[in-house]
Amino acid sequence: MVSTGPTDEQPDTDNPYAGLLGGDPSHWAFGIAAYDAQSADPLAGVDATLPDGVDRRDLATYAVMLADDALVMSHRLSQWCSNAPDLEEDIALANTALDLLGQARLLLARAAAADPSVVPALPEGSPVLPEDALAYFREAGDFRNVRLAEVEDRDFADVVVRLLVFSTWRLALLERLRGSRDSVLAAVAAKGVKELAYHRDYAGRWFLTLAQGTDESRARTVAALDRIWPLRSELTDVHDVEARVADCGVGVDPSTVSAEVDAVLAQVFAVSDVVRPDASPLAGVHGRKGRDGLHTEALSRMLAEMQVVARAHPMGRW
């Protein structure tokens, strides 16, 4: 029985639905009652001043990189909803996707505020918010995510392994990004660390469970790890933009988290009695990889699905 507030009021025994809305009928139309740009801006009132000594384009590009990792991984995770082995895993993966989507939204909004020129142009009068324009109106070649985030999962072991490697790496990055001189990036990182700690533990526990489960689950997990391992090294490659924002204390040089990522993964592999794979890294094309906008075909197919509705209605209000 839900009442209207923390004080105990007399329940309305005639109407079983009274109080269901917490006394506020607008809750049937969750969150759309007074929709306007101010109430929709995730950074409304947040100080978006650029720190000294950082190029605005670099800061925006770096925020887009961190956002795209989260956005693309989030979409892939959400594709598991109703396809996971049981309802609890549907919910767990959807929750994880939602956390990452929230991080992506804040980071894309940060990018747009730092340098509005990174936001794709939309028709005059379009109500699409800058972070949505970045998410839904860029081509695959403009996405800056690492390729680990975009590859398709063949079975549940794939998503467990990808989430383990991804969240271990992102947690290590965000732990350091908490010290960013950009107050928005630092705040997104501080919250993200708390969320990613749950994601990494979840993936680590499933990795252990599958590796120490049946012969079948172990074989599938080892096969998934072998498939995904070639994407590991790209995570700690350093793009020029990352190097420059790290130099000025705004970003994190990803090569500095490599040892921590390997140490955490080694811990999981040891208890799971799995040998760290020895596969060589997935090469780029003329040295270009995910951070440069060079992606696998899987990303284009994913974006086609993710973006189709928004692109069909650039003047749409949601």
């Binding site: 029985m1 839900v2 009442s3 209207t4 507030g5 923390p6 809305l21 917490g22 006394g23 506020d24 607008s26 809750h27 969750f30 969150g31 759309i32 009652a33 007074a34 101010q38 109430s39 929709a40 801006d41 995730p42 950074l43 409304a44 009132g45 947040v46 609890e88 919910i91 767990a92 929750n95 994880t96 939602l98 956390d99 990452l100 929230g102 939204r105 804040l106 290590a172 732990e175 705040a187 997104v188 501080a190 919250k191 660390v193 708390k194 969320e195 990613l196 700690a197 749950y198 990494r200 533990d201 979840y202 680590g204 526990r205 252990l208 921590e260 955490v264 811990q267 999981v268 208890v271």
Partner: protein
């Protein structure tokens, strides 16, 4: 007769707005309402912080604050977001914790603090959770992720009832 300052009146109004997903809690009890200020021109600025990065209730909370404050006579209302410091379940008030328990939800324990590297935990999270229905201290974790971002799922071993636990973060 005591005359309340405009700030206090506006805060009192905003503090009655409830969380859209857990309506037994006000935004004040949840620790989401950070400040309410009346500017010199009479406009009100309420400041809130998200519980989780992707909390879908944020827009709803902002709308509810605007509508409630307008309803109380404050014509010009703005809701700002503050991201720093990040929300912690430690900010849920004592009254909020009692309200959670009274409505069958288990309140969070102390939140972990992560200043340095976050330790990996491969065994299920151990919490001193009490069944909010029968009071038994024997509850089994069903899932670390529940119907909203802020909850885990438990089942009481004694009375067999499932219940939700607000997670430590």
């Amino acid at each position: 007769m005591t005359v309340l300052a405009a700030d206090q009146v506006a805060y009192g109004v905003a503090a009655r707005v409830v969380d859209p997903e857990m309506p037994m809690l006000t935004l004040e009890d949840l620790g989401v309402l950070r400040a309410v200020q009346v500017e010199d021109d009479g406009s009100v600025v309420a400041t809130i912080t998200p519980t989780y990065s992707g909390c879908p209730a944020m827009t709803s909370m902002r709308d509810d604050l605007v509508r409630t404050l307008r309803g109380a006579g404050f014509a010009d209302v703005r809701v700002d977001v503050v991201l720093e410091p990040a929300w912690s379940s430690d900010w849920i008030s004592e009254r909020g914790r009692r309200a959670l328990a009274a409505h069958g939800l288990s309140a969070p324990g102390p939140a972990p603090r992560y200043d340095g590297p976050v330790p990996l935990t491969l065994v299920p999270t151990r919490r001193a959770v009490r069944c909010p229905r029968c009071g038994a201290s024997d509850a089994a974790l069903t899932s670390e992720f529940g119907p909203t971002a802020c909850k885990a799922l438990y089942r009481c071993v004694r009375c067999s009832e499932p219940f939700e636990h607000v997670k430590e973060i």
